[in-house]
Symmetry: D2
Amino acid sequence: MAPRKLHVGIVGLGRMGRRHALNFLERTFRAEVVAAWALDDEEAGWGHKELEPHGATIYTNYDQFLQHAGLEAVVIATIAGAHADQAIKAIERDKHVLCEKPLSHSSEIVSRHISYPCLNADTLKSQSVVDVASQKPQLKVLCAFSRRFDASYRKAWERVKSGAIGEAVVFRSQTCDMINRTSFFLPYAKASGGVFLDLNIHDIDLCLWFFGQDVVVKSVSASGVCAVHPELAEVGDVDNAMSIVEFWDGKVAQFFASRIMASGQHDMSEIIGTKGKLVVNSNPADSLVEMHEAGGIRRELPTDYYGRFEQAFVTEANEFTAACLDDTELPFSLPGAVKAVEIAIALRDSLASGQKIHFDRSGRRIS
Amino acid sequence: MAPRKLHVGIVGLGRMGRRHALNFLERTFRAEVVAAWALDDEEAGWGHKELEPHGATIYTNYDQFLQHAGLEAVVIATIAGAHADQAIKAIERDKHVLCEKPLSHSSEIVSRHISYPCLNADTLKSQSVVDVASQKPQLKVLCAFSRRFDASYRKAWERVKSGAIGEAVVFRSQTCDMINRTSFFLPYAKASGGVFLDLNIHDIDLCLWFFGQDVVVKSVSASGVCAVHPELAEVGDVDNAMSIVEFWDGKVAQFFASRIMASGQHDMSEIIGTKGKLVVNSNPADSLVEMHEAGGIRRELPTDYYGRFEQAFVTEANEFTAACLDDTELPFSLPGAVKAVEIAIALRDSLASGQKIHFDRSGRRIS
Amino acid sequence: MAPRKLHVGIVGLGRMGRRHALNFLERTFRAEVVAAWALDDEEAGWGHKELEPHGATIYTNYDQFLQHAGLEAVVIATIAGAHADQAIKAIERDKHVLCEKPLSHSSEIVSRHISYPCLNADTLKSQSVVDVASQKPQLKVLCAFSRRFDASYRKAWERVKSGAIGEAVVFRSQTCDMINRTSFFLPYAKASGGVFLDLNIHDIDLCLWFFGQDVVVKSVSASGVCAVHPELAEVGDVDNAMSIVEFWDGKVAQFFASRIMASGQHDMSEIIGTKGKLVVNSNPADSLVEMHEAGGIRRELPTDYYGRFEQAFVTEANEFTAACLDDTELPFSLPGAVKAVEIAIALRDSLASGQKIHFDRSGRRIS
Amino acid sequence: MAPRKLHVGIVGLGRMGRRHALNFLERTFRAEVVAAWALDDEEAGWGHKELEPHGATIYTNYDQFLQHAGLEAVVIATIAGAHADQAIKAIERDKHVLCEKPLSHSSEIVSRHISYPCLNADTLKSQSVVDVASQKPQLKVLCAFSRRFDASYRKAWERVKSGAIGEAVVFRSQTCDMINRTSFFLPYAKASGGVFLDLNIHDIDLCLWFFGQDVVVKSVSASGVCAVHPELAEVGDVDNAMSIVEFWDGKVAQFFASRIMASGQHDMSEIIGTKGKLVVNSNPADSLVEMHEAGGIRRELPTDYYGRFEQAFVTEANEFTAACLDDTELPFSLPGAVKAVEIAIALRDSLASGQKIHFDRSGRRIS
């Protein structure tokens, strides 16, 4: 008998949802896409055309979607503000969950969950997902930090783990998007939660990976400018942001985010240890081609993060599927995703107030 | 109704056959592996374990394998000497064929096929595949030059086609293997047909791609040394070879092959046009990680060609499958593969004799 | 008649003084080294051996040195704490002055000079050099920020000036020293004034170059760790420091300094403008050699900043000489050097207090 | 007493002569330019303006120039055809000689010198310089192969010498000029002796350095195309040439020359040993600046070989001067320069005839 496949449903068929849907459909051997939830007619139309022929049922009602017979796992790829609620519902229905980052950045009060004094309302929402998930330990609930599945970051991690650079003490990382001059940009950016939740959330997550999830934040400090997009100031955002995060553990991190790169997407990270340093992607390129032409030597870059991390998304789909089917451990745990949101929100607050924000030794925000 | 999938059989379950089998099984959405032919018990064992659970039948009799009900296409991944015969039989049985390179390098006389005065016995064998295939134009018969499916080479080709470098006039290319000190190396290398058929065949094929398949060879000249493996001299081979191929079309190519790279696999190519130059893979690396350590900055390389071209093999499997299912054109035609073998064999002869070999304007070898 | 040469005296014949002495002696065609001041017998001995045969008189008394007949210009290369006093005396004696960076970092009160409310005692000292120099406008007084003379930084500047990257809005720069495990390190580092005055002073100076010297600081914020050298904590210093400097002009800078690089010296900078970005030295190397060896591809780095900037020092000597002889403008003015010290000291204070430091719109420190 | 300086005379004040003149005048501390020979009024005018004020006498009569009182050494930087005669005369007048490459490429018969059966008239001329020089062993006679003085090539050589790559067995090297579309190009190129004597002569010299000057040529083979400059065919030259040189010592070299690079000057070399490989300049650049702009990341290249090797020329001037003053050994001997010419001429002949040229075990040309 052929090995059984995981029955997966996709939540949201927008840009990211379609990528996840096709990755699970075509590039995840052990999964089958059996259902999808579409936000609107346009999304549903895509689902009918691309997924239905392969056996998936398209829903526009989320509860009905969750009741699809045999559905085992859901992939949440809607707007960030919806992630937490949809994840919680799915967990309550006993589905494995792969949820796009960030878990949350909305500011509504999640009254039904116990409050955490050190968290504000934004992180509460993230925390609630963790709470619900913790009551169903048999479920696999994963926040989709795609870079954790990238082969280069994993290679770096293997070397750190092996002790090759001694103890990691300094982490420097950037997420820099290509400038986008289309009319889609401003609405997207304004709804994104800001550069820290939209871009640096990845760098923060990587930092927690390389430093260890148990590190305790001591302070955060952020600055930024609106260099090209003054409209971002309306939502308290910037198009270039730099920040420092200190930890009580004698470690320190420096982040940079930009939305104005002329050349393309450039995400890079640097892990400095007591014995050496690792750098990931200091020389970005979209291929191995160099063009020798009038003006010199040129190489092109990926135009967006998916161009850089496409293979990581495929790995993510396959590993999530394997963990669900085989009941094996996920590569990283959910509470770290909450910590990443917490740090990102503190950075946003620091940017807004122009003040450094301090935390006590338990990680409780004290200013 | 779900779109139908191509029913594929794998011929040979050695190192390359297993890779093809898994690529078609797990990473080619539109294909199903329904059968496989195993050379011996060891190969059959692997097939029973890895392929049978997913619905494939394992054969050790090639004729029975070809009679598997519903089999539509075969992937030939046996030793080079068997390629031609197996391909011809499959074509005669109306199967689409994806055949590993080279089509042939054996020296038996293929008596039943018309002789080509300009070809020696080696290329005859390749030519016979073309002849048989030409009688079944409905079949897709492809020689698996994996680099044709590599994203970087394709990007280079797009630029050449767009006129970005003017007319391509000089092609320089190398295939350099990591040194292999295991006991497997010598038997493998000695049976490989030599550096030109085993390594530079790729560079020759790329040359024919970038120059156009219709270019006519004017001369070939090859030299080489046994730097580390004196035993290769026993079969007329070397572990470092350099060669020049002139074309009557005012174009010229330079190749290099090495089997002694200390650092890893390094395959690179350079296309020089009248207006610019393209270089593929001048800075090889196995990932985006750079290690800053005592001694400087270091990066690691793939240890073999599969590490460099894995994704190209997957693309190859998917595109071959799509061409069979949709009856669309293959990305390149079969006769070019014969021309590549012809040039490789002429280079081997030049190396053996120490003489430059000349061809007339029709491409007929005259010395 | 042969064109006359500038009569130069070298102040201090330690490591840096010797380099300057030989650069002016052997590699500055329009200069002659006519005198040198030595701190002690060891330095004097070197001067007698290396400089005296070429016509230089060696002094151990600074006043007598300054009275050397025909002396026109002095190069100050003593410890940082002595720079300001020696420069002031030389200016008072009507000598042109090339003074090693930083102008000062000592904390003595310079009572004879008007006080600057926004400066603390440290910057006062720097400011006093400017005051004295401003009274002798015919003299060339230059703070030796060697990177200003580096060909790559100049090329970057030409592009910024040409408008190629639009308006420069973000500046990121690092000075990273190779780890030094000799017994010389700690005494040197402890006397150096700390990472901001010893290392990042260069990055700050570059920032003022690329942003324009008139930018007004809005805030500074610094963090750091003692990763390998816990002893540095005794003098309030760290071996890794990251910092952010905001300007009222809508620009922002991020600095990094490290004393623990395993691989070698790595100083790099990034200038981000509204239309593009320039990066200087993202791939450090001590030569054009790459070593392909077991373990991959490796390149070596300079082991110290002189290895990186040697040619810049030579250019500096030649341009300073030309400016003195021809009475032409120096490439940058002295007050900027004070501003750089001021920012570095504010960063040191921020590191010590753990607080962000704010400045009002006139650049006056308000916290 | 100040150490004495070498009294140098410059022969020829064209493009290269001016560079040598200024390097010896301004950047060679131990030398003085006391005289110069100018070909014509234009050259003499430059000499009067730039050299005379610093004490040099300008001559237009070569014999009178050689009789300049106190003249100790001459630097020959005229057209290649004049090198040998001028060098011989200078040696006969007991002057040290630094002679631009190549020693010769003219075809006149040098009747007064014993003939060398294996050399044709071209190399005879080179050989004659060696003969004359060998009679004055006290003189320093050096052929100006500037790359021998380049820091990167020297670093590579140190590693080879140390055994780091085992025995060097394969050498691959290229000299690629930026395309030149000015009216100066064709006259220059046509008089240059062709790509092998003008460009690859450097690579051949490097090959003899890394393989050892005693290696014996076994065969040479060359091919080429006129891709952009069909006029070069008139003088039997090409604008792209590739060649192979086999040695009886189990070593082999591959060269490439191009005059049509769109991006700039790109000279690189690769030394492959039994244990590793060294590459010099695989990533050419004119500075450490990378431009991140629309279209990707770009770096510029030197526009000519002097841009790449300027510092090597300065080192050459200083080391030649030191060898003359101190009577120390030159870094390489003169006979190698003849061997390089011999190989270059054989390659030119191979290109012309389309034939591989063979040599016997004594290095005697047999076809």
